[in-house]
């Protein structure tokens, strides 16, 4: 018989070990369908690893792909910690992207040390305000934020399409529905010339560190943790539950908005309606893999990005569908959920006695 004994404290090494173990378990589980297709399993994984980090260019591509995932992962992590189920990071990302082109594509002309911060702040505010509305609906009227944020995604995307077909359409784009390009002064610098890697990555890592410090070391971070873990007790203790939730909404939406700014001002240069292949939703996976730890979001985002970039490359080489990446990520998610048992409980084996 197996018994689960709750742990008083989970050691950090164990959380890390469980996360790494989950990643390995996911690859092992993916090997089964891969073998069934008749593909050479080890070659496929080797090609994936090579495609994700085999050379400087591959690594840069993975890092580029990880950048928005860090932002949306942080957005999900901070919200889920407070039990605010923000499923709307995708919409907040687009709101941030829209703000980026609205401010950075010619409306304001200023040197880059003014324009870049302005664009980032504008994007963060756009995402923050977009999430603040569902949060207020939740705290005031008890409206379910899952439904509201999820449906807002579609509203925002349709709004973006409307703007791209209408007022924000670039006249020079030969009829394609895309915005005018952001000015050079609003563009995030490239980190290595010739590669797509850009300053958004630095920003994302800084955001993760800042969020970690905020959550663990500040009074408001403490309040957010308290409200998230037991809102009743937090209210009884006189903590400002409503304000803490509003703050969480602003932070989460703002981080998702920054993902949009980073993609537009760092990578694409202009806004299209297919800017994000679901970075907002993938952020939920990243946050879960990271066990909602802001610092853990960085490796989790790298893992997910690496799997997708590597799978693309592997798929081109040996013709196995790159849907394999989705499979790896899904298995990783399941493995982490199972692994959560190990971090929360000690497992004790008990010999079955006679009674």
């Amino acid at each position: 018989m197996i018994r689960f004994v709750p742990r008083a404290r989970t050691p950090v090494w164990l959380s890390v070990a469980v996360s790494i173990g989950a990643g390995l378990a996911a690859l092992a589980l993916t090997a089964i369908p891969l073998a069934l297709t008749g593909a050479p399993v080890f070659t496929a994984f080797a090609l994936m690893a090579q495609g994700a980090a085999g050379n400087g260019f591959a690594l840069a591509e993975t890092l580029t792909r990880a950048t928005p995932l860090i932002f949306t992962g942080l957005a999900a992590a901070v919200a889920f910690r407070a039990k605010l189920w923000n499923i709307g990071a995708e919409g907040q990302l687009y709101a941030g992207a829209l703000a980026t082109v609205a401010l950075g594509a010619g409306l304001i002309e200023a040197p880059s040390y003014v324009l870049v911060p302005l664009v980032l702040i504008g994007a963060a505010l756009a995402g923050a305000v977009l999430l603040l509305v569902p949060v207020l609906f939740k705290t005031r009227f008890g409206a379910d934020e899952v439904v509201v944020t999820l449906l807002l995604n579609f509203i925002v995307l349709l709004f973006v399409q409307m703007m791209l077909e209408g007022p924000m359409k670039d006249e020079m784009a030969l009829g394609w529905p895309q915005s005018a390009p952001v000015l050079d002064e609003a563009t995030l610098p490239k980190l290595v010339s010739g590669w797509r890697l850009h300053g958004g990555l630095v920003l994302a890592i800084l955001a993760a560190v800042a969020l970690h410090v905020f959550i663990t070391r500040t009074v408001w971070g403490f309040r957010i943790r308290a409200v998230g873990e037991n809102a009743r007790a937090a209210r009884y203790a006189g903590l400002p539950v409503g304000k803490a939730m509003a703050l969480v909404g602003l932070l989460s939406g703002g981080l998702a908005g920054l993902a949009g700014a980073s993609e537009v001002a760092g990578l694409k240069g202009y806004l299209t309606a297919d800017l994000s292949p679901g970075f907002g939703y993938a952020g939920i996976v990243v946050a879960t893999l990271a066990n909602l730890s802001p610092l853990g979001v960085i490796p989790a985002a790298l893992f997910v990005a690496g799997v997708f970039v590597g799978a693309d490359s592997m798929s081109r080489a040996i013709g196995v569908s790159n849907y394999l990446a989705d499979l790896v990520v899904a298995f990783a998610l399941l493995s982490v959920l199972v692994g959560g048992l190990l971090t929360r409980f000690r497992i004790v084996f008990v010999r079955r006695g006679t009674a």
């Binding site: 018989m1 709750p6 742990r7 008083a8 404290r9 070391r217 500040t218 009074v219 408001w220 403490f222 309040r223 943790r225 308290a226 873990e229 037991n230 009743r232 007790a233 937090a234 209210r235 009884y236 203790a237 006189g238 903590l239 400002p240 004790v348 010999r351 079955r352 006695g353 006679t354 009674a355």
Partner: protein, 520 residues
């Protein structure tokens, strides 16, 4: 009040536990325990928290499997047969029923539905009413356990929910009924009627295991008492000739110091209610036009069956609810509205009824829970940054001062036992030297040691000049601590009467809704 020892032995054996041993790692929760129970016998199982009562009952009920030993139970012809371990179904089928201290009721179903739940096919669309209702009506008649069967259980009081639980067991034709702390939530009259019920059930041949820590009840009701301590059986004797002091010593393993309550002269009122109403008139737990003064240096006890308005009173004082009408003041200042933070600022120390739900945040550390109310105070933060070293140091000092048994200030508080958790809450509340202390069921679920500790702390707060409002369902506790006692029933609060010279029976009658004059 006659012990049931008059006719035990000719009765046949119904339950026999032999050499039950259960280990959890290094801890031996049950150490070679033998226990025989005969038909018609009422056996008390006594022991502190952690003595092994729950483990033993869980083994009997199939939730745990014993490492060593065996359980046998009489079948319908009276032959003893071994009970397979690890199966709750087998235990139920063999006629073992248990009423847990924390009820196992589906709150959105009615009493009737709860009673028949699990006894009928899941495929029947409506519970077949007639036969079941007839049987329940007969059981209610015989046992005196009357309760409204057709309202959702969530709307019933704790006492009524317990009646549903007992009826649920009786409905399943139990041969051995285990009652876990059954009187903890009852008025003395209800407890008496429960005792009468249990006696009449036993007279019809039911074997009853009665788990309690109220020694006078054990002595009055049970024919035999079994005492567990540290996992081992330390006594198995008839109650005849035993007294409370000996039983308490057997349980704790040492003599219990008498509670000392030095005299105190009350000062000016700290909490003052004038015709205060709290909660909607349709609510069951509400307060109607209540008058009350709690003065500095006195403990005022509020007696009442839960759900009669003490919840509303506690919510008002704790800052969770606002007064609908009337004037409530603390320290001369009017209570504006629902404002828990304002109460903290006004030096009200609040000990909530449910420490898991309202008092602590399980995944936060002991130190973090210690500063939950005061995180924004200058000693805990500087420019918005938490002063972690200072908080840890003060938490460590509080752990020492309040004798909290825990791995340290960084341990998650959910890993602590109920008593130690309550000590953290006490430390948080009392370290700030509050002017008013709200103690809402401060010892519910605690063992004798922890209870004594809580009582000592409350008396010390009174000695320091704090006004203490003690809300409890435990009349022993109220009479032991209070200077004055008021009774709340159906939203109406009686005047607070001097505890000295007040009779437990009078309070009991008032709890059941009779006026003080009528009761006296």
């Amino acid at each position: 009040m006659h012990p049931d020892a008059s006719h035990p032995d000719p009765r046949r054996l119904v339950l026999s536990l032999k050499g039950i041993t259960k280990r959890f790692g290094p801890l031996t929760a049950n150490d070679a325990i033998d226990l025989d129970v005969r038909a018609g016998e009422i056996v008390a199982l006594l022991g502190e928290n952690g003595a092994g009562k729950t483990t033993l009952m869980s083994i009997l009920f199939g939730h745990y499997i014993a490492d060593e030993g065996s359980v046998s139970i009489a079948d319908s012809e009276g032959r003893m047969a071994p009970l397979p371990g690890g199966s709750a179904q087998a235990a139920l089928a063999a006629g073992i029923g248990m009423v847990h201290q924390h009820f196992a009721l589906a709150e959105n179903l009615t009493g009737f539905e709860n009673i028949v739940l699990g006894t009928q096919s899941l495929w029947s669309l409506r519970p077949r009413g007639r036969g079941a209702r007839g049987k329940i009506a007969r059981l209610m008649d015989e046992s005196g356990l009357t309760v409204d069967l057709d309202v959702p259980v969530a709307r019933l009081s704790v006492g009524e929910q317990q009646r549903i639980e007992i009826l649920k067991a009786l409905y399943r034709d139990v041969r051995v009924l285990i009652l876990d702390e059954p009187t903890a939530v009852l008025t003395p009259q209800e407890a008496d009627s429960l005792a009468a019920t249990v006696r009449s059930l036993a007279a019809k041949g039911l074997a009853v295991i009665f788990i309690s820590h109220k020694l006078h009840e054990v002595l009055a009701l049970c024919g035999r008492v079994v005492v567990l301590r540290g996992g081992a059986k330390v006594a198995d004797r008839p109650t005849l000739g035993a007294d409370r002091a000996t039983l308490a010593e057997l349980m704790v393993g040492r003599a219990i110091p008498a509670r000392e309550r030095p005299p105190s002269t009350p000062g000016a009122p700290v909490l003052s209610l004038r015709r205060v109403s709290v909660g909607a008139p349709s609510q069951r737990d509400r307060l109607e036009s209540a008058d009350l003064d709690v003065r500095a240096g006195e403990i005022v006890g509020i007696a009442g069956v839960s759900g009669n308005g003490q919840g509303a009173l506690a919510a008002l004082v704790a800052g969770l609810a606002a007064a609908r009408a009337g004037e409530a003041t603390i320290d001369g200042r009017r209570l504006a509205g629902a404002d828990p933070a304002g109460r903290v600022a006004a030096h009200v120390g609040r000990i909530p009824e449910d420490r898991h739900r309202d008092g602590t945040i399980g995944s936060l550390s002991v130190a973090e829970n210690f500063v939950l109310e005061t995180i924004a105070a200058p000693e805990n933060q500087r420019a918005g940054l938490i002063r972690r070293a200072a908080i840890r140091a003060r938490a460590a000092a509080a752990i020492q001062a309040y004798d909290v048994r825990c791995p340290g200030p960084d341990a998650a508080i959910r890993a602590l036992s109920g008593g130690n958790m309550q000590k953290v809450v006490l430390a948080r509340v009392l370290e700030r030297e509050p002017k008013l202390v709200l103690a809402h069921q401060p010892t519910r679920g605690l063992d004798i040691g922890a209870t004594t500790d809580v009582h000592r702390r409350l008396i010390a707060a009174r000695g320091r000049g704090a006004a203490v409002l003690l809300i409890s369902e435990d009349l022993d506790e109220l009479f032991a601590l209070s200077d004055r006692i008021a009774v709340v029933h159906a939203g109406h609060l009686s005047p607070a009467l001097d505890a000295v010279g007040l009779d437990v029976r009078t309070v009991g009658l008032m709890m059941a809704g009779h006026g003080a004059g009528e009761a006296a």
